[in-house]
Protein backbone atom coordinates (compact mmCIF):
# COMPACT_ATOMS: atom_id res chain seq x y z
CA UNK A 1 0.00 0.00 0.00
CA UNK A 2 0.97 3.60 0.25
CA UNK A 3 4.04 4.40 -1.66
CA UNK A 4 4.15 0.90 -3.06
CA UNK A 5 0.74 1.21 -4.59
CA UNK A 6 1.54 4.66 -5.89
CA UNK A 7 4.97 4.02 -7.17
CA UNK A 8 5.58 0.50 -8.24
CA UNK A 9 2.10 -0.46 -9.32
CA UNK A 10 0.51 2.68 -10.62
CA UNK A 11 -2.99 1.37 -11.15
CA UNK A 12 -4.38 2.44 -14.49
CA UNK A 13 -7.35 4.61 -13.73
CA UNK A 14 -9.94 2.39 -15.28
CA UNK A 15 -8.71 -1.02 -14.25
CA UNK A 16 -7.74 -0.10 -10.73
CA UNK A 17 -10.90 1.57 -9.55
CA UNK A 18 -12.86 -0.68 -7.24
CA UNK A 19 -16.02 -0.17 -9.24
CA UNK A 20 -14.50 -1.99 -12.12
CA UNK A 21 -13.17 -4.89 -10.19
CA UNK A 22 -14.69 -8.18 -11.21
CA UNK A 23 -17.24 -9.25 -8.62
CA UNK A 24 -16.68 -12.90 -9.40
CA UNK A 25 -13.30 -14.51 -9.10
CA UNK A 26 -12.16 -13.85 -5.61
CA UNK A 27 -8.56 -14.65 -6.37
CA UNK A 28 -8.39 -11.80 -8.86
CA UNK A 29 -9.88 -9.48 -6.33
CA UNK A 30 -7.33 -10.40 -3.70
CA UNK A 31 -4.45 -9.87 -6.05
CA UNK A 32 -5.73 -6.46 -6.93
CA UNK A 33 -6.15 -5.46 -3.35
CA UNK A 34 -2.69 -4.03 -3.41
CA UNK A 35 -4.08 -1.40 -5.75
CA UNK A 36 -6.26 0.09 -3.09
CA UNK A 37 -4.76 3.25 -1.84
CA UNK A 38 -6.04 3.34 1.68
CA UNK A 39 -8.89 2.15 3.87
CA UNK A 40 -11.51 4.36 2.25
CA UNK A 41 -10.59 3.08 -1.14
CA UNK A 42 -10.95 -0.47 0.13
CA UNK A 43 -14.21 0.30 1.88
CA UNK A 44 -15.71 1.90 -1.21
CA UNK A 45 -14.50 -1.05 -3.22
CA UNK A 46 -16.22 -3.51 -0.91
CA UNK A 47 -19.44 -1.55 -0.86
CA UNK A 48 -19.62 -1.20 -4.60
CA UNK A 49 -18.72 -4.85 -5.05
CA UNK A 50 -21.86 -5.73 -3.13
CA UNK A 51 -23.79 -3.14 -5.09
CA UNK A 52 -24.76 -1.31 -1.93
CA UNK A 53 -25.19 2.39 -1.44
CA UNK A 54 -23.03 3.99 1.17
CA UNK A 55 -25.23 3.73 4.21
CA UNK A 56 -24.79 2.81 7.80
CA UNK A 57 -26.14 -0.63 6.97
CA UNK A 58 -23.69 -1.07 4.13
CA UNK A 59 -20.84 -0.11 6.39
CA UNK A 60 -21.90 -2.60 9.02
CA UNK A 61 -22.35 -5.30 6.42
CA UNK A 62 -18.92 -5.04 4.91
CA UNK A 63 -17.17 -4.95 8.27
CA UNK A 64 -16.17 -8.61 8.32
CA UNK A 65 -14.91 -8.47 4.80
CA UNK A 66 -12.96 -5.32 5.47
CA UNK A 67 -11.28 -6.86 8.47
CA UNK A 68 -10.47 -10.10 6.74
CA UNK A 69 -8.96 -8.13 3.87
CA UNK A 70 -6.69 -6.11 6.07
CA UNK A 71 -5.64 -9.35 7.82
CA UNK A 72 -4.77 -10.83 4.47
CA UNK A 73 -2.94 -7.74 3.35
CA UNK A 74 -0.97 -7.79 6.52
CA UNK A 75 -0.07 -11.41 5.92
CA UNK A 76 0.98 -10.69 2.35
CA UNK A 77 2.97 -7.59 3.04
CA UNK A 78 4.52 -8.58 6.32
CA UNK A 79 4.85 -5.60 8.56
CA UNK A 80 3.19 -2.39 7.54
CA UNK A 81 4.26 1.12 7.93
CA UNK A 82 2.61 2.05 11.17
CA UNK A 83 0.76 5.10 9.94
CA UNK A 84 -0.75 3.20 7.06
CA UNK A 85 -1.85 0.30 9.22
CA UNK A 86 -3.29 2.57 11.85
CA UNK A 87 -5.63 4.24 9.39
CA UNK A 88 -6.98 0.85 8.44
CA UNK A 89 -7.31 -0.06 12.08
CA UNK A 90 -9.14 3.12 13.00
CA UNK A 91 -11.61 2.46 10.23
CA UNK A 92 -11.90 -1.19 11.23
CA UNK A 93 -12.54 -0.28 14.85
CA UNK A 94 -15.28 2.15 13.91
CA UNK A 95 -16.85 -0.41 11.61
CA UNK A 96 -16.83 -2.98 14.40
CA UNK A 97 -18.53 -0.53 16.72
CA UNK A 98 -21.10 0.14 14.07
CA UNK A 99 -21.76 -3.51 13.59
CA UNK A 100 -22.01 -4.15 17.31
CA UNK A 101 -24.46 -1.29 17.68
CA UNK A 102 -26.65 -2.83 15.02
CA UNK A 103 -26.63 -6.22 16.73
CA UNK A 104 -27.75 -4.82 20.05
CA UNK A 105 -31.38 -3.95 20.72
CA UNK A 106 -32.22 -0.34 19.96
CA UNK A 107 -32.36 1.77 23.05
CA UNK A 108 -32.09 5.30 24.20
CA UNK A 109 -28.84 6.99 23.62
CA UNK A 110 -27.76 7.51 27.15
CA UNK A 111 -24.19 7.24 28.08
CA UNK A 112 -21.14 8.90 26.69
CA UNK A 113 -20.08 5.78 24.86
CA UNK A 114 -23.24 5.80 22.78
CA UNK A 115 -22.70 9.39 21.85
CA UNK A 116 -19.08 8.74 21.10
CA UNK A 117 -20.10 5.92 18.81
CA UNK A 118 -22.60 8.10 17.02
CA UNK A 119 -19.99 10.75 16.52
CA UNK A 120 -17.43 8.26 15.33
CA UNK A 121 -19.94 6.84 12.87
CA UNK A 122 -20.84 10.25 11.53
CA UNK A 123 -17.24 11.18 11.22
CA UNK A 124 -16.37 8.01 9.36
CA UNK A 125 -19.37 8.51 7.18
CA UNK A 126 -18.50 12.09 6.41
CA UNK A 127 -14.91 11.26 5.70
CA UNK A 128 -15.90 8.42 3.43
CA UNK A 129 -18.31 10.58 1.48
CA UNK A 130 -15.74 13.30 1.20
CA UNK A 131 -13.17 10.85 -0.06
CA UNK A 132 -15.63 9.47 -2.56
CA UNK A 133 -16.31 12.98 -3.85
CA UNK A 134 -12.64 13.57 -4.50
CA UNK A 135 -12.29 10.17 -6.06
CA UNK A 136 -15.10 10.92 -8.49
CA UNK A 137 -13.67 14.32 -9.28
CA UNK A 138 -10.27 12.78 -9.86
CA UNK A 139 -11.85 10.60 -12.50
CA UNK A 140 -13.11 13.69 -14.26
CA UNK A 141 -9.68 15.23 -14.04
CA UNK A 142 -8.21 12.11 -15.60
CA UNK A 143 -10.62 12.37 -18.49
CA UNK A 144 -9.75 16.00 -19.01
CA UNK A 145 -6.05 15.19 -18.93
CA UNK A 146 -6.70 12.54 -21.51
CA UNK A 147 -8.63 14.83 -23.84
CA UNK A 148 -6.32 17.79 -23.39
CA UNK A 149 -3.28 15.59 -23.86
CA UNK A 150 -4.14 15.45 -27.52
CA UNK A 151 -3.28 19.10 -27.91
CA UNK A 152 0.40 19.80 -28.10
CA UNK A 153 1.61 23.27 -27.22
CA UNK A 154 4.01 25.01 -29.51
CA UNK A 155 7.20 24.85 -27.50
CA UNK A 156 10.03 25.32 -29.92
CA UNK A 157 13.56 26.33 -29.12
CA UNK A 158 14.26 30.00 -29.57
CA UNK A 159 15.70 30.83 -32.96
CA UNK A 160 19.44 31.36 -32.78
CA UNK A 161 19.04 34.93 -33.99
CA UNK A 162 17.15 35.75 -30.80
CA UNK A 163 19.36 33.72 -28.51
CA UNK A 164 22.29 35.78 -29.71
CA UNK A 165 20.53 38.91 -28.50
CA UNK A 166 20.35 37.80 -24.88
CA UNK A 167 22.07 40.25 -22.59
CA UNK A 168 25.41 39.12 -21.27
CA UNK A 169 25.16 37.19 -18.07
CA UNK A 170 26.41 38.90 -14.99
CA UNK A 171 28.43 36.06 -13.54
CA UNK A 172 29.69 36.27 -9.99
CA UNK A 173 29.48 32.59 -9.08
CA UNK A 174 32.70 30.84 -8.16
CA UNK A 175 33.40 27.14 -8.36
CA UNK A 176 33.19 27.06 -4.56
CA UNK A 177 29.75 28.69 -4.61
CA UNK A 178 28.64 26.09 -7.05
CA UNK A 179 30.03 23.27 -4.91
CA UNK A 180 28.18 24.62 -1.90
CA UNK A 181 24.94 24.76 -3.88
CA UNK A 182 25.48 21.23 -5.13
CA UNK A 183 26.24 19.99 -1.63
CA UNK A 184 23.04 21.54 -0.30
CA UNK A 185 20.95 20.18 -3.12
CA UNK A 186 22.42 16.70 -2.93
CA UNK A 187 22.04 16.46 0.82
CA UNK A 188 19.53 13.72 1.48
CA UNK A 189 16.25 15.30 2.33
CA UNK A 190 14.32 14.44 5.43
CA UNK A 191 12.90 11.08 4.73
CA UNK A 192 9.36 10.14 5.53
CA UNK A 193 9.16 9.75 9.28
CA UNK A 194 8.77 6.22 10.51
CA UNK A 195 5.81 5.47 12.66
CA UNK A 196 2.70 7.44 13.34
CA UNK A 197 2.66 10.93 11.96
CA UNK A 198 1.33 13.49 14.35
CA UNK A 199 2.39 16.61 12.50
CA UNK A 200 -1.16 17.23 11.44
CA UNK A 201 -2.13 17.80 15.04
CA UNK A 202 -2.20 21.34 16.29
CA UNK A 203 -0.93 20.48 19.74
CA UNK A 204 1.12 17.85 21.40
CA UNK A 205 -0.20 14.62 22.81
CA UNK A 206 -0.84 14.61 26.53
CA UNK A 207 -0.91 11.42 28.51
CA UNK A 208 -3.82 11.10 30.89
CA UNK A 209 -1.90 8.56 32.98
CA UNK A 210 1.06 10.84 33.35
CA UNK A 211 -1.19 13.69 34.39
CA UNK A 212 -2.98 11.46 36.91
CA UNK A 213 0.37 10.58 38.43
CA UNK A 214 1.29 14.25 38.67
CA UNK A 215 -1.99 15.14 40.30
CA UNK A 216 -1.58 12.31 42.77
CA UNK A 217 1.83 13.59 43.81
CA UNK A 218 0.58 17.16 44.21
CA UNK A 219 -2.44 16.12 46.23
CA UNK A 220 -0.51 13.75 48.46
CA UNK A 221 1.84 16.61 49.21
CA UNK A 222 -0.70 19.31 49.86
CA UNK A 223 -3.70 17.32 51.02
CA UNK A 224 -6.19 19.68 49.39
CA UNK A 225 -5.86 21.99 46.38
CA UNK A 226 -8.17 23.99 44.19
CA UNK A 227 -8.55 23.04 40.54
CA UNK A 228 -6.94 26.35 39.71
CA UNK A 229 -3.89 25.47 41.76
CA UNK A 230 -3.73 22.00 40.23
CA UNK A 231 -3.64 23.45 36.76
CA UNK A 232 -1.58 26.56 37.43
CA UNK A 233 1.46 25.10 35.71
CA UNK A 234 -0.42 23.78 32.69
CA UNK A 235 1.21 25.18 29.61
CA UNK A 236 -1.76 24.64 27.34
CA UNK A 237 -5.51 24.16 27.49
CA UNK A 238 -5.17 20.55 26.53
CA UNK A 239 -3.28 19.80 29.72
CA UNK A 240 -6.06 21.43 31.74
CA UNK A 241 -8.65 19.32 29.96
CA UNK A 242 -6.69 16.14 30.47
CA UNK A 243 -6.10 16.88 34.15
CA UNK A 244 -9.82 17.44 34.55
CA UNK A 245 -10.55 14.09 32.92
CA UNK A 246 -7.91 12.45 35.08
CA UNK A 247 -9.60 13.87 38.18
CA UNK A 248 -12.92 12.43 37.08
CA UNK A 249 -11.26 9.05 36.70
CA UNK A 250 -9.64 9.32 40.07
CA UNK A 251 -12.95 10.38 41.60
CA UNK A 252 -14.62 7.34 40.13
CA UNK A 253 -11.95 5.17 41.68
CA UNK A 254 -12.52 6.89 45.00
CA UNK A 255 -9.00 8.26 45.48
CA UNK A 256 -10.05 11.92 45.43
CA UNK A 257 -13.08 13.78 46.68
CA UNK A 258 -14.45 17.15 45.61
CA UNK A 259 -15.60 19.98 47.84
CA UNK A 260 -17.58 22.88 46.48
CA UNK A 261 -19.24 25.22 48.99
CA UNK A 262 -21.63 26.91 46.61
CA UNK A 263 -22.68 26.51 42.98
CA UNK A 264 -19.94 27.83 40.67
CA UNK A 265 -17.80 28.29 43.73
CA UNK A 266 -14.20 27.21 43.97
CA UNK A 267 -13.68 23.48 43.50
CA UNK A 268 -11.31 21.93 45.99
CA UNK A 269 -9.87 18.50 45.50
CA UNK A 270 -8.80 16.35 48.41
CA UNK A 271 -6.72 13.18 48.36
CA UNK A 272 -8.78 10.42 49.92
CA UNK A 273 -7.03 7.37 48.55
CA UNK A 274 -4.93 6.40 51.51
CA UNK A 275 -1.33 5.33 51.12
CA UNK A 276 -1.70 2.81 48.30
CA UNK A 277 -0.42 4.33 45.05
CA UNK A 278 -3.16 5.06 42.56
CA UNK A 279 -3.05 2.56 39.68
CA UNK A 280 -2.94 5.16 36.91
CA UNK A 281 -2.46 2.43 34.33
CA UNK A 282 -6.08 1.42 34.76
CA UNK A 283 -7.18 4.59 33.03
CA UNK A 284 -5.94 3.34 29.72
CA UNK A 285 -8.66 0.73 29.66
CA UNK A 286 -11.27 3.36 29.00
CA UNK A 287 -9.30 6.06 27.33
CA UNK A 288 -6.51 5.89 24.87
CA UNK A 289 -3.27 6.44 26.62
CA UNK A 290 -2.79 9.76 24.88
CA UNK A 291 -4.99 12.59 23.91
CA UNK A 292 -4.47 14.30 20.63
CA UNK A 293 -5.42 17.89 20.59
CA UNK A 294 -7.86 19.45 18.23
CA UNK A 295 -11.09 18.03 17.03
CA UNK A 296 -11.34 19.71 13.68
CA UNK A 297 -11.09 17.75 10.45
CA UNK A 298 -7.34 18.17 10.66
CA UNK A 299 -7.21 15.94 13.69
CA UNK A 300 -8.78 13.04 11.89
CA UNK A 301 -5.39 12.06 10.68
CA UNK A 302 -3.77 8.70 10.45
CA UNK A 303 -4.44 6.83 13.63
CA UNK A 304 -3.73 9.40 16.22
CA UNK A 305 -7.06 10.02 17.82
CA UNK A 306 -8.99 7.27 19.46
CA UNK A 307 -12.32 7.70 17.74
CA UNK A 308 -14.30 6.27 20.63
CA UNK A 309 -13.19 9.26 22.59
CA UNK A 310 -14.81 11.83 20.41
Amino acid sequence: MGSTAEGVHPPPLTAGTPENLPAAGKAVFEVRLTNFSGPFDLLLGLISKRELDITEIALAEVTDEFISHIRRMQAEHGSWALDEASEFLVVAATLLDLKAARLLPRGEVEDAEDIALLEARDLLFARLLQYRAFKEISRQLAERFEVEGDRYPRDTPLEPAFTALLPDLIWTTTAEDLAALAAAALQPRETVPEGVRVDHLHGSAVSIREQAGLLEAHLRNAGSLSFGELTADAAETLVVVVRFLALLEMFRDGVVSFDQDEPLGELRIRWSGGDEPFPADSIGADYGADFGAGYGPESVGPGTVDLTLQ
Binding site: P10, Y131, F134, D150, T156
Partner: protein, 221 residues
Protein backbone atom coordinates in the same frame (compact mmCIF):
# COMPACT_ATOMS: atom_id res chain seq x y z
CA UNK B 1 17.80 53.44 -35.61
CA UNK B 2 16.72 54.54 -39.05
CA UNK B 3 18.49 57.88 -39.09
CA UNK B 4 16.47 60.22 -36.95
CA UNK B 5 17.48 62.98 -34.66
CA UNK B 6 17.87 60.57 -31.83
CA UNK B 7 21.49 59.79 -32.44
CA UNK B 8 22.74 61.11 -29.17
CA UNK B 9 20.04 59.46 -27.16
CA UNK B 10 21.90 56.24 -26.73
CA UNK B 11 19.40 53.39 -26.76
CA UNK B 12 19.36 51.60 -23.45
CA UNK B 13 18.52 48.29 -24.97
CA UNK B 14 16.74 46.42 -27.66
CA UNK B 15 13.41 47.32 -26.16
CA UNK B 16 14.05 50.98 -26.47
CA UNK B 17 15.23 50.50 -30.01
CA UNK B 18 12.10 48.59 -30.91
CA UNK B 19 9.84 51.13 -29.34
CA UNK B 20 11.51 54.11 -30.92
CA UNK B 21 12.15 53.23 -34.46
CA UNK B 22 10.13 50.19 -35.40
CA UNK B 23 6.45 50.27 -36.13
CA UNK B 24 4.96 46.80 -36.33
CA UNK B 25 1.74 48.24 -37.69
CA UNK B 26 3.53 49.45 -40.79
CA UNK B 27 4.91 46.03 -41.68
CA UNK B 28 3.10 43.72 -44.07
CA UNK B 29 0.40 41.94 -42.12
CA UNK B 30 0.30 44.71 -39.57
CA UNK B 31 -0.21 44.36 -35.86
CA UNK B 32 -2.14 41.16 -36.12
CA UNK B 33 0.76 39.47 -37.88
CA UNK B 34 3.14 40.95 -35.32
CA UNK B 35 1.02 39.35 -32.63
CA UNK B 36 1.28 36.05 -34.44
CA UNK B 37 5.02 36.46 -34.67
CA UNK B 38 5.29 36.88 -30.92
CA UNK B 39 2.98 33.93 -30.29
CA UNK B 40 5.44 31.83 -32.28
CA UNK B 41 8.14 32.18 -29.65
CA UNK B 42 6.26 31.94 -26.36
CA UNK B 43 7.26 29.09 -24.08
CA UNK B 44 4.34 29.34 -21.69
CA UNK B 45 0.88 30.81 -21.96
CA UNK B 46 1.44 34.53 -22.38
CA UNK B 47 -0.79 37.17 -20.86
CA UNK B 48 -2.55 39.91 -22.78
CA UNK B 49 -0.56 42.43 -20.79
CA UNK B 50 2.76 40.98 -21.89
CA UNK B 51 1.60 40.94 -25.48
CA UNK B 52 0.30 44.49 -25.27
CA UNK B 53 3.64 45.60 -23.91
CA UNK B 54 5.61 43.84 -26.62
CA UNK B 55 3.45 45.39 -29.34
CA UNK B 56 3.18 48.76 -27.61
CA UNK B 57 -0.60 48.81 -27.94
CA UNK B 58 -3.47 48.70 -25.48
CA UNK B 59 -4.69 45.53 -23.83
CA UNK B 60 -8.16 45.88 -25.37
CA UNK B 61 -6.67 45.99 -28.83
CA UNK B 62 -4.64 42.89 -28.14
CA UNK B 63 -7.69 41.10 -26.77
CA UNK B 64 -9.68 41.90 -29.88
CA UNK B 65 -6.88 40.70 -32.14
CA UNK B 66 -6.45 37.49 -30.17
CA UNK B 67 -10.12 36.61 -30.46
CA UNK B 68 -9.96 37.49 -34.12
CA UNK B 69 -6.98 35.20 -34.67
CA UNK B 70 -8.62 32.44 -32.69
CA UNK B 71 -11.69 32.54 -34.93
CA UNK B 72 -9.59 32.75 -38.03
CA UNK B 73 -7.67 29.62 -37.06
CA UNK B 74 -10.94 27.88 -36.32
CA UNK B 75 -12.09 28.60 -39.85
CA UNK B 76 -14.67 31.13 -38.83
CA UNK B 77 -14.65 34.41 -40.72
CA UNK B 78 -17.04 36.32 -38.52
CA UNK B 79 -18.99 37.32 -41.62
CA UNK B 80 -22.36 35.81 -40.86
CA UNK B 81 -23.20 32.19 -40.14
CA UNK B 82 -20.79 29.45 -41.00
CA UNK B 83 -20.99 28.38 -44.60
CA UNK B 84 -19.33 25.90 -46.90
CA UNK B 85 -17.28 28.73 -48.38
CA UNK B 86 -15.62 29.44 -45.05
CA UNK B 87 -11.98 28.58 -44.90
CA UNK B 88 -11.02 25.25 -43.38
CA UNK B 89 -9.81 25.26 -39.80
CA UNK B 90 -6.05 25.44 -39.52
CA UNK B 91 -4.04 22.59 -38.07
CA UNK B 92 -3.43 24.62 -34.95
CA UNK B 93 -5.52 26.63 -32.55
CA UNK B 94 -5.05 29.58 -30.26
CA UNK B 95 -6.24 29.00 -26.72
CA UNK B 96 -6.59 31.03 -23.58
CA UNK B 97 -5.70 28.56 -20.83
CA UNK B 98 -3.51 28.50 -17.76
CA UNK B 99 -3.60 32.24 -17.42
CA UNK B 100 -2.54 33.16 -20.94
CA UNK B 101 -2.59 32.56 -24.67
CA UNK B 102 -0.67 29.94 -26.55
CA UNK B 103 -0.78 28.03 -29.81
CA UNK B 104 -1.55 24.30 -29.77
CA UNK B 105 -1.88 21.67 -32.42
CA UNK B 106 -5.45 20.53 -33.06
CA UNK B 107 -6.43 17.65 -30.85
CA UNK B 108 -7.71 15.57 -33.72
CA UNK B 109 -4.26 15.38 -35.26
CA UNK B 110 -2.76 13.95 -32.07
CA UNK B 111 -2.05 10.56 -33.69
CA UNK B 112 0.17 12.26 -36.28
CA UNK B 113 1.67 14.93 -34.06
CA UNK B 114 2.54 12.68 -31.14
CA UNK B 115 5.09 10.85 -33.26
CA UNK B 116 7.06 14.09 -33.68
CA UNK B 117 6.93 15.41 -30.16
CA UNK B 118 9.82 14.19 -28.08
CA UNK B 119 8.58 12.00 -25.32
CA UNK B 120 5.05 13.09 -26.08
CA UNK B 121 2.87 14.01 -23.19
CA UNK B 122 4.19 12.63 -19.96
CA UNK B 123 2.90 9.29 -18.85
CA UNK B 124 -0.39 8.94 -17.08
CA UNK B 125 -0.88 9.79 -13.47
CA UNK B 126 -1.66 7.00 -11.06
CA UNK B 127 -4.98 6.89 -9.28
CA UNK B 128 -3.28 7.94 -6.07
CA UNK B 129 -1.69 10.91 -7.82
CA UNK B 130 -4.98 11.97 -9.40
CA UNK B 131 -6.82 11.80 -6.08
CA UNK B 132 -4.12 13.77 -4.35
CA UNK B 133 -4.14 16.32 -7.14
CA UNK B 134 -7.92 16.64 -6.85
CA UNK B 135 -7.75 17.26 -3.11
CA UNK B 136 -5.02 19.85 -3.55
CA UNK B 137 -6.87 21.55 -6.40
CA UNK B 138 -10.05 21.98 -4.38
CA UNK B 139 -8.53 22.63 -0.98
CA UNK B 140 -5.58 24.81 -1.90
CA UNK B 141 -3.57 26.09 -0.20
CA UNK B 142 -3.34 22.87 1.76
CA UNK B 143 -0.75 20.97 3.76
CA UNK B 144 0.34 17.43 3.02
CA UNK B 145 -1.02 16.36 6.40
CA UNK B 146 -4.43 17.67 5.48
CA UNK B 147 -4.40 15.83 2.17
CA UNK B 148 -3.25 12.73 4.01
CA UNK B 149 -6.17 13.05 6.38
CA UNK B 150 -8.67 13.26 3.56
CA UNK B 151 -7.19 10.36 1.63
CA UNK B 152 -6.38 8.40 4.80
CA UNK B 153 -2.97 7.51 3.45
CA UNK B 154 0.43 9.07 3.46
CA UNK B 155 0.81 11.29 0.39
CA UNK B 156 4.46 12.34 0.67
CA UNK B 157 5.76 10.49 -2.35
CA UNK B 158 2.78 11.42 -4.50
CA UNK B 159 3.19 15.07 -3.60
CA UNK B 160 6.82 14.81 -4.65
CA UNK B 161 5.86 13.33 -8.00
CA UNK B 162 3.24 15.99 -8.62
CA UNK B 163 5.74 18.70 -7.71
CA UNK B 164 8.32 17.32 -10.10
CA UNK B 165 5.72 17.34 -12.81
CA UNK B 166 5.01 20.98 -12.06
CA UNK B 167 1.33 20.24 -11.48
CA UNK B 168 1.55 21.52 -7.92
CA UNK B 169 4.00 23.73 -6.09
CA UNK B 170 4.68 24.94 -2.60
CA UNK B 171 2.76 28.19 -2.30
CA UNK B 172 3.41 29.13 1.31
CA UNK B 173 3.55 27.91 4.85
CA UNK B 174 0.90 27.56 7.48
CA UNK B 175 1.41 30.47 9.89
CA UNK B 176 0.54 28.25 12.86
CA UNK B 177 2.19 24.93 12.18
CA UNK B 178 4.84 26.01 9.70
CA UNK B 179 3.72 23.21 7.39
CA UNK B 180 4.34 23.73 3.69
CA UNK B 181 1.13 24.54 1.84
CA UNK B 182 0.60 23.33 -1.69
CA UNK B 183 -1.43 24.68 -4.56
CA UNK B 184 -1.85 23.95 -8.24
CA UNK B 185 0.30 25.62 -10.88
CA UNK B 186 -0.54 27.42 -14.12
CA UNK B 187 0.84 24.34 -15.85
CA UNK B 188 -1.84 22.28 -14.14
CA UNK B 189 -4.50 24.57 -15.56
CA UNK B 190 -2.90 24.47 -18.97
CA UNK B 191 -2.80 20.68 -18.96
CA UNK B 192 -6.49 20.61 -18.07
CA UNK B 193 -7.35 23.32 -20.57
CA UNK B 194 -8.68 25.62 -17.88
CA UNK B 195 -8.38 29.35 -17.60
CA UNK B 196 -8.43 29.40 -13.82
CA UNK B 197 -9.09 27.25 -10.78
CA UNK B 198 -12.62 28.64 -10.67
CA UNK B 199 -13.35 26.68 -13.85
CA UNK B 200 -12.78 23.32 -12.19
CA UNK B 201 -15.89 21.15 -12.16
CA UNK B 202 -17.94 21.74 -9.04
CA UNK B 203 -17.33 19.40 -6.15
CA UNK B 204 -20.67 19.87 -4.41
CA UNK B 205 -22.75 17.51 -6.59
CA UNK B 206 -20.42 14.77 -5.45
CA UNK B 207 -20.94 15.52 -1.79
CA UNK B 208 -24.55 14.50 -1.13
CA UNK B 209 -25.74 15.18 2.39
CA UNK B 210 -22.59 16.98 3.37
CA UNK B 211 -23.89 20.48 2.77
CA UNK B 212 -24.43 21.16 6.42
CA UNK B 213 -21.19 19.83 7.73
CA UNK B 214 -19.99 23.30 8.38
CA UNK B 215 -17.11 22.28 10.57
CA UNK B 216 -16.06 19.81 7.98
CA UNK B 217 -16.08 21.99 4.93
CA UNK B 218 -14.05 25.05 5.49
CA UNK B 219 -14.26 26.07 1.90
CA UNK B 220 -17.36 26.32 -0.18
CA UNK B 221 -17.19 24.58 -3.48
Amino acid sequence: MTGTDLDEAAPTGAEAAAAEAFSAAEQPGGLKAALEAVLMVVENPVTEQELAQALAVGVEEVQAMLVNLQQEYDGYTGKGPKSADDPQPRGFELRNVGGGWRIYSRSWFAPVVSAFVLGGQSSRLSQAALETLAVIAYRQPVSRARVSAIRAVNVDSVVRTLTQRALIAAVGTDPETGAVLYGTTPHFLERLGLGSVAELPRLSPHLPGLENLGDYEDTTY
